[in-house]
Symmetry: C2
Subunit: 352 residues, 2 copies
């Protein structure tokens, strides 16, 4: 089974780590050679298809990561969402924080600040900095962000586990926030999100560079050729919304025959994590699970919601109520939620 | 008194730290307002010259640092000699090692190596990396190496102590080593020096970029306007020799009226530190104190040597034998050696 997901940072990464666990469990439960819609049509048996041997994971996961959060700090290119995905899926994330490396220190950044460098509001651990240094070096050598990300993913063992991490675009883009007020002013998304804690009201989001961006290699095919497409409970505006703005992505989602199933990032009108409500307010959308689903109405087939939101109905989209709170408080809970989203998708495809 | 020195890395830095101590001691011993040849002609007294108040050090030290060792590692611009000067004069150097930061760790570099980055033979501590990151950022923003170095020096308190650190040139240059052998091959100086431990015989040194280099702002004036010029016991080929190759530097040394006094980097035919013998051999010069002085013959006025080398005579250069071994094994010993070099210079100028 080929699954493709669009993802932001912490929420997306936790969901996808759970999904990978759920997929591994499915393979174990059902055996490797007849596990999936994709392989069930395959005669199976030794030698029938080299790509379907027991060594390669029977379910593959392509992740299209948001790069709108990307920022250049201390001259180094930082890709917060891609890094959170790498560290979380690679088993190296700072679990409580949700981003950055477990057991990291801040020796280098303290030195940078001692030199009078800015900013101090974006925390960069020492281990984390190594990622930004090597990424910047490779980008400087002419490799694309896709190529760089693939090399980073190797180190975290993602290909071996059937995970492909694709930046949404290789074109440098940055989400900027135009602040509401009499004086026009704009800040980088990270400055608004991290330093200002998403407090100042937003006039609008602008994705600098998107006008010349194209989808990175593999992105549109990952949508077109998927068996299932999942939207993790990532921020609908500044994560999923930014990916949907990459030319061709939304059209590919509308056109694909695969079921598209999303997991609500809101529970009873409040975001599980982050400042999704402030982002929705900025684009004039109500902070409800139904309103978020409405943003995806043109391609969304299924929507998994929290019991607190039970009762909503969406035209053209199948709503499923999860059997407990939609909270990814552990890998196991995230795996169960991912499993439920996958079941919904397979039901919609008539394949379960 | 305005002193100008040409300097490489560890030996130069230790000598100049000693010199700064010696100069501070001279100011204390003699009082601030009539301490020096430069100020003795000054009527003195309050208000006579704002630059000669008690707040500004009465003796200033301009250091022209070698940048031929500079190298780009992990995409970051590393200036080993300038950094050794900054850290040593700033009181932050790793004393036993002679370079790098005291109490440094290698967390970032270990991560870089885990990502498959190279090289592993050049040690970069975490605190040290902050210097390279911020330097690279500032260079990327369009500041010159002189401007960047001045900003770094601020952090280490050098201006407050009357020390000006000037890179020899703002043009990126790199000393490369053409290795002897049937197959022509060249490596960066650092690779030959650090990884190969200066073992492979050298065909010649080539300074890439020197053909378009110009002296950095202030360098030639620091030589022309000095009261005393000192050559620390730095490597005569790959440190002092490289600086002498910057257009205008050698001419300025020949033309200045200030006494030029050097301290021998060799004792009884062996370098005190580093691989000066291998470097001298590469340029076909005997590894003796006299032969090194011969490299400077066209501008050298005084030469301070170890007792082991007593008896040499140099045409046109006054030779002084130091009263103990010419070893800078402590700050105090380095200060005494610097003081002796300074005395020799003042004698030659008839000013002591």
């Amino acid at each position: 089974m080929r699954i493709t997901a669009l993802a932001g940072g912490v929420g997306g990464a936790r969901f996808l780590r759970g999904l990978r666990h759920a997929l591994d469990q499915r393979s174990l439960d059902r055996g490797v050679h007849d596990a999936t819609p994709h392989t069930s049509a395959d005669p199976g048996g030794p030698g029938s298809d080299a790509s379907e041997t027991a060594e390669s994971p029977p379910h593959t996961l392509s992740i299209i990561g948001n790069t709108g959060d990307d920022i250049t700090l201390f001259g180094l290119r930082v890709c917060p969402d891609l890094d959170t995905l790498l560290y979380t899926l690679g088993g190296a994330v700072h679990e409580q924080q949700g981003w950055g490396r477990a057991g990291d220190t801040r020796r280098v950044q303290e030195e940078l600040l001692a030199y009078g460098a800015a900013p101090d509001w974006f925390g960069l651990g020492d281990l984390d900095l190594a990622t930004h240094i090597i990424r910047s070096q490779w980008l400087g050598q002419g490799y694309t962000l896709s190529q760089v990300t693939a090399r980073l993913a190797e180190r975290w063992g993602l290909p071996d586990r059937g995970i492909e991490l694709l930046p949404m675009t290789d074109t440098p883009v940055e989400t900027h926030v135009v602040l509401a007020g009499d004086e026009p002013s704009a800040v980088h998304f990270q400055e608004w999100w991290v330093r200002m804690q998403a407090q100042p009201p937003v006039e609008r989001f602008v994705v600098a560079g998107m006008d010349r961006a194209t989808a990175a290699p593999g992105v549109l095919d990952a949508i077109r050729n998927a068996d299932v497409i999942l939207l993790p409970p990532s921020n609908p505006v500044v994560s999923i919304g930014i990916i949907l703005g990459v030319p061709g992505v939304r059209d590919a989602l509308r056109g694909t025959t695969a079921p598209v199933v999303g997991v609500s990032p809101l529970i009873g009108g409040a975001p599980v994590r982050g400042h999704a409500d402030a982002c929705l307010s900025a684009i004039g959308v109500e902070a409800t699970s139904a309103a978020v689903a409405g943003l995806y109405a043109d391609f969304l087939d299924g929507w998994l919601i929290d019991p607190a939101d039970a009762g909503m109905s969406l035209g053209g989209t199948e709503v499923a109520v999860y059997d407990e709170a939609l909270l990814m408080t552990s890998v196991e809970k995230a795996a169960r939620i991912a499993d439920a989203a996958l079941d919904l998708a397979l039901d919609l495809a008539g394949k379960r």
